[in-house]
Structure formats: C-alpha cells, structure tokens
C-alpha cells in the first residue's frame, strides 16, 4: 500500500517536472549545469556522514534516501563560496582523522568508528570543524524530513487538507 502511494507520487513528480515550460524552469536551469562541488570519493564520504547522522533503523537512513546529494546540491547552489570551502575542507579533515585513528578512509570505517569521529568533532574546540558538522547536520535534517519517503510514510504530509479547524484536542503519542 505504502509502496503504491510512493509510486503514484513518483509518477506525479516526473509529470510535473516534464511539464515545466522554459520560462519557469529557467529559474533553476543554470544551476544544473555547474560542476559538482565534491569529487566522487568526497561525495561517498558525505553520504557516509549523513547516514551516520540519521542512520538506517527499521526505516531507511539519510544515506539511502539520497540526502548526501541534497546536502551537496544545496551547498553548491544556494550557499556562498566560504560555505562551499568549509564543506570541502571539512570532509578532507574528517577523512584524515579517520585514517589517522583507524587506518582507513571514513568511507570504509565501521558504523561505530564513524559515529566516534562525528561525536569528537561535536565535542572538540575546533570551531571550523564544528561549523562544518553543524551545516551538514542541519541540511541532513532538512533533506531527510522533506524527503518523499519520510513525508509520505512517516509524517503523512497532506497536499490538500481541504479544511481548517482552529481548536482541536492535541493527539497524544
């Protein structure tokens, strides 16, 4: 049932995108032609990082939901060059830390090792690494919470409520 809902909204999504006339899609077209900010290896590290921030449990984690790509897209298209540099250097530093401490790239590190690295940044006094983690965490939360999977299956987004009630009891739980 949930899968059917997802497929149906996918079809609507494709329809809507294909339907965009030139004057409307012109607003975002230029940004699509930019090169990606991160290399393939760095993108993999970012995917590992967002999956560590919001991991797979009985539902998919942020990595599987493509949130890494969303984070990179937002920083590439909507953020200034300082934030872009922070994302790149932050990822390099994270990877160096991983190699130093565990002898392997962040992409190959175990789940607990990755979590250890992020928690250490969170507790550290390195302001730039903390800012990097904060930016990625915020965007990861945004990308995850606004993903099709979460909005369709977990938070039950309504496109067309067709009603407004100004005073209803709070539902518990």
């Amino acid at each position: 049932m949930e899968r059917r809902v997802a497929l149906k909204s996918m079809a609507m999504a494709v329809g809507a995108m294909a339907g965009l006339p030139a004057w409307a899609s012109g607003w975002s077209k230029s940004t699509l032609e930019k090169g990606t900010l991160l290399s393939a290896d760095q993108s993999k590290i970012l995917t590992g990082m967002v999956e560590t921030i919001i991991p797979k449990t009985d539902t998919p984690g942020a990595g599987e939901l493509g949130v890494g790509g969303f984070v990179q897209k937002m920083v590439t298209d909507c953020y200034d060059s300082k934030a872009q540099a922070s994302l790149k250097s932050g990822i390099s530093n994270l990877d160096e830390q991983s190699i130093q401490r565990f002898g392997k790239s962040f992409a190959d590190a175990g789940k607990d090792q990755r979590m250890q690295l992020l928690q250490d940044i969170d507790k550290s006094s390195d302001a730039s690494q903390k800012a990097f983690l904060g930016m990625v965490k915020n965007l990861t939360i945004q990308g995850y919470m606004s993903s099709e999977y979460v909005m369709t299956n977990l938070t039950h987004y309504e496109m067309i409520p067709a009603r407004y009630h100004g005073c209803v009891p709070v539902t518990k739980g």
């Binding site: 909204s9 609507m12 999504a13 809507a16 995108m17 339907g19 965009l20 006339p21 004057w23 409307a24 899609s25 012109g26 607003w27 975002s28 230029s30 940004t31 560590t52 921030i53 919001i54 991991p55 449990t57 984690g61 897209k73 937002m74 298209d77 909507c78 953020y79 200034d80 979590m115 992020l118 928690q119 969170d122 965490k137 939360i141 945004q142 990308g143 995850y144 919470m145 606004s146 993903s147 099709e148 909005m151 977990l154 938070t155 987004y157 496109m159 067309i160 409520p161 067709a162 009603r163 407004y164 009630h165 100004g166 005073c167 209803v168 009891p169 709070v170």
Partner: protein
C-alpha cells in the same frame, strides 16, 4: 492570400484599450467587454492561462530541488525581488526579474513587479477590506494631500458588485471602521485568537479582533461556478497559482470571463510606450506599444483607454505620453503627475507566546489570519501623529522536534513531534501621508532595455511613520500584556518602502483640476477619455489592503465610461 486591401488602421482599432491585466486591468476588461465594447487588453509580459500555466502548482515539497530556497545565483542577480516574502522556488517565475526593468532608486525602494497576464493578482496576499467613511474623509479632516472627490456611499454599491463576483470570505462584524460586505462563510479564528478577541473587547471599547476578509471561495455561489472556479481547498500554496480558482486572480476569474464574451483581444508581450493624444480631437486616440519580442513599435486605437499598468508604471506611461498640448505628461496641467506617492508601512512586528490552551491545537491549513482594524485617531485626532494603523494578528500552536544528538537518538527525536506553547504574532499596516516630495520622475538621459526613459523613484518614510511605529509597538505590547502573553518581543525590520507592495498615488483623484489628475470617475480632468483606476489614482492610502478598492473603483469607472460613451460625451 494576404489581405492587402485591409485597412490596417481599422484592424488596429477597438472600442476600448485596457493597459495591464492585473487586478484592476482584469476588472476593466470584464466590465467593458460585458457591456459590449470590443476591447484590446495589453500586457507587457507573457500570457499565463489559468491552470495550464501554473507549472509548480501540483508539485510536492520534495520535488523542489532546493526545497523552496532559490539558488544564490538567482538571489544575487535579483536583490530587489529577493526581499519579497513570496519570492521562492515555487513562485519566482511570477516575479519580474530585476534586470528586466531597471529603475533609479534615488532613495531605496523595493519595487516588486509581476509582468505576465494576471500580474500580481497571482501573488497577492488576498486580504480584502472595505474602506470606511473615516478613510475617505481623512485628508479633508486632517488637512493633508487633497480631499477625495468621493465618499463611502459612492463606492459602497461597487464594493458589493465586485465582492459578489470575486468571492470574499469574512464575518459580518458590524464595525463602522470596517464596513461589512457581501461575505461568504468566514474562516475560523483559533482558540488563542478567540481568547485574545475576548480579552481585547473587555479591556478596550474601540478595539476589535476579527477574522480576516479575504478573496477565497469558502462556499461557492452560482456566479463562481459559472466562472469555472471551485471551493478553496486550504492548500495555502496560492502564490503558485490555484488550480481550483479557490482565490480570486485575474487569470481564474475576470480575464477568462471577459474572453468568453467574444469581445476581448488579449495582446501579451506589449510594453506600452505612451498614450497618443490627438490635438485636433482634443482627446486620446490610442496607445503606442513596443512588442517585447520584436522591439517593433506599433499603434492601436480606441475611443476610451483604461490605464491599469500598476501604480508606478501607470505614472511612467503618463509621464512618457508627451505632446504639444501636454509637454509634461498626459493630463498634467497641474504639475502633480508623479507626485504624492505613498504606500503602507509594514515595518514593525510584535510577537509573544501564550501558555494557555495547551491541550488544543489547529488542524488543516487556513489561507487567512486575524485582523485588528485601525483604532487610532479614528473619531478624532488623539496622538502626536496623523492617521493610524491596522494590524494582522495570528496565532499558531508551536511544534518542534528534538534535534539534539547524532544517530538513532536524533532520528527518534526528529520523528516525534512535540507541542510547545502557542505563538502569537502581529504586524502593522500603517497609513503613510502622501507628500509632494515623494515622487517618481523620468530620467533625462538613461533608458531601460526598451528604450523608455528610466524611472527615478524618490520615496521615503517620515517622522509621522516613526511615531506611528513606536505607538503600534507600545499599543500591541500593552494588549498582549493584558492578555497574559509572555516573552513579548517587538521588532522594527527597517524594510525599504515598496516592500509592502502597496505603492499608491502619483495620478491622484480630486475635485480640483489644479491640484489633482483625475475626477471622481477616475477620468483625467484634462483628457476625459483616459481612465486610471489602479493604485496610481489613490488620493490617500488608508490602512486597508488596497486591491478591493481598486476593483470597486474600476467597475464604477467602467460603468461611467460606457454611459458617457453612449451619450457621446467622450
């Protein structure tokens, strides 16, 4: 083959020409075509047809690749448009880009524009309050600007006329400061809004909290169904264009209605250069247009012309319509054209929290909010500033998700929505005083991309506005305090004039041709077959959102124009 024998001038001649297709232009088109006039509607932007040309209207949140935020490249290239609250990924295509129509800001002015069929009627906030007699009597009582040539009784039937067709939701509140209209079922105030309403009415005899009056169809009548419009579905995605026609726009309502009469010709991509004045006939004979695709200049002719280009652009067109009779702009014998520009003051907000009703929340979405009609200086002058302010008022139950930590605990926190206090907020809508020193004019040397003289805008706040901001903050904070709201925070955002999108004046109405441009039927005093019925015509600004008044003035002027035309007076 080609009709070589056709009289080309005849083919370009209509009974009426309407310049602009936004809120007021749409009404001109509807009224004139319904009365049988062959009408040409000129629009400088592209065509936008109802539903078909709303590309984002059915997109899900996750389908916006930047989740409604615009890429930096776009915001950097459009600093003016970017300061508008509604300029975002889902609606940016309905805003004019900054480079499409540059202007000179002698003082900072955020000129927000929608260049397409329907204009800004696709983007407006849809609040539609009538003016009261106190608003029309303002300039005369308080001795500023010039006296309005009409009063509330002149326009009241026309308010009814446009309300019934557009569809206005509201409650009959019985207030003399904000007359009731032809309302559809009102939206609901939520528990905290109702509580505040009671609190205020207990503490103050002349202050009221009401549900907003807004151009939404809450229970469609036959006239709305006849337009092909349906009930508002509470999506609150109005700025994308509404596929249900749930709110009023030219695109869903007046323009297709006019088209159905068979009397309307719509010409998009038509940048109006000027109105042509015929010295011999001593009246306007047509409109000069630049085709925005070909840059070709062409002329169209008509017996009457309705100028509805939006306030500042209507000023621009008249200023650029020079002739030996009118060297300073069409109808500008008085020299007041372009002067006495005013706007609304939206600078201040007051927010707070309420710790009551914690077992309650809202459900669904409401494309409307609460409203506090003006209560200052209404019956007599009682403060050290002139006029007053209305305010928006609303409350929401705060929800939050625990964003602390990393990993599984973070994930669990995010997926468990928790309730906080109710948040309450208010924003001011202040009346500004039209002054001669607030003006628009044409630059003598610089040209825009169409070779039109560039417009200079010189408009600013004054001391009266500063005093009003202070009073609004004090009074609303006091009302909040008395209601037991906590954590009250006031803010002056210092936004630029123009950012309220309620610019008005420059072609004001008035009794005396020596001090005003338009008579009581919105006709140029000095060129009777030209009517200006958009924001440019406003003598003063009041505190109400202006669109409903433009609609009513337009319908009234069109009725007069057709009667005068039949009586051969034009």
């Amino acid at each position: 083959m080609a009709n070589f024998n056709i009289d080309s001038k005849k083919a370009r001649t209509y009974d009426a020409i309407v310049i602009g297709s936004g809120i007021s232009g749409g009404w001109s088109a509807k009224e004139l075509t319904e009365k049988g006039l062959k009408t040409l509607v000129l629009e400088r932007g592209r065509d936008v047809q109802h539903i078909k040309d709303y590309p984002t209207t059915n997109m899900m949140p996750w389908e916006f690749e930047h989740r409604e935020r615009l890429p930096k490249e776009i915001t950097d290239a459009n600093p003016i448009a970017s300061r508008c609250y509604n300029f975002k990924e889902s609606s940016a295509h309905f805003f004019a880009k900054d480079n499409e129509h540059p202007y000179i800001q002698e003082k900072p002015f955020d000129w927000i524009r929608g260049y397409q069929v329907g204009g800004k009627s696709l983007l407006w906030a849809r609040q539609t309050q009538r003016w009261s007699k106190y608003d029309f009597e303002g300039p005369s009582r308080d001795k500023f600007a010039v006296e309005w040539p009409i009063g509330y009784d002149d326009i009241a039937p026309w308010y009814s006329h446009v309300e019934k067709f557009a569809g206005i939701t509201g409650n009959k509140d019985g207030l003399d400061t904000l007359p009731d209209g032809e309302f559809l079922t009102p939206h609901e105030l939520n528990c905290v809004e109702k509580y505040f309403k009671e609190s205020v009415s207990k503490q103050y005899k002349d202050r009221h909290i009401i549900i907003g009056r807004a151009a939404h169809i809450t229970d469609p009548q036959q006239i709305h169904l006849d337009q092909g419009r349906a009930k508002c579905q509470h999506r609150t995605m109005c700025e994308r264009g509404c596929p249900f026609g749930g709110y009023f726009s030219s695109n869903s309502s007046t323009i297709p209605w006019a088209m159905k009469t068979g009397n309307m010709t719509l010409r998009p991509h038509s940048v109006v250069h000027s109105i042509i004045y015929d010295d011999k006939k001593q009246k306007a004979s047509g409109v000069r247009v630049i085709d925005s695709n070909t840059k070709e200049m062409m002329e169209f002719y008509a017996d009457i012309i309705f100028l509805n280009a939006a306030a500042i652009n209507s000023n621009l067109v008249l200023l650029n319509s020079t002739s030996s009779r009118f060297p300073n702009g069409l109808g500008n014998d008085s020299g007041v054209l372009g002067k006495y520009i005013a706007f609304h003051n939206y600078r201040a907000t007051v927010s707070a929290e309420y710790e009551g009703f914690l077992d309650s929340t809202e459900e669904g979405r409401r494309p409307n909010g609460g409203y506090i009609p003006r209560f200052r200086n209404v019956y007599k002058q009682e403060t050290d500033f002139l006029r007053g302010y209305a305010a928006g008022f609303g409350s929401d139950r705060e929800t939050y998700n625990d964003r602390s930590g990393l990993g599984e605990s973070l994930k669990a926190g995010l997926l468990k929505t928790q309730y906080g206090n109710w948040s309450v907020g208010s924003h001011m809508m202040g009346e500004t005083i039209p002054k001669e020193s607030n003006y628009v004019a044409l630059d003598k040397t610089q040209k825009d991309p169409f070779g039109m003289p560039m417009l200079k805008i010189n408009v600013d706040y004054d001391d009266n506005d500063e005093k009003m901001i202070k009073d609004y903050i004090e009074q609303v904070s006091e009302m909040f305090t008395k209601a037991g709201f906590k954590n009250i925070r006031a803010n002056d955002n210092h936004r630029n004039p123009g950012n309220d999108i309620h610019e008005m004046g420059g072609v004001r109405m008035g009794k005396d041709p020596k001090t005003s441009m338009l008579n009581k039927f919105n006709q140029l005093h000095a060129c009777k077959n030209v009517f200006v019925t958009d924001g440019a015509c406003m003598t003063s600004t009041s505190t109400q959102n202006p669109s409903l008044t433009y609609m009513a003035l337009t319908a009234r002027a069109a009725d007069h124009a057709v009667k005068e035309m039949k009586a051969k007076n034009l």
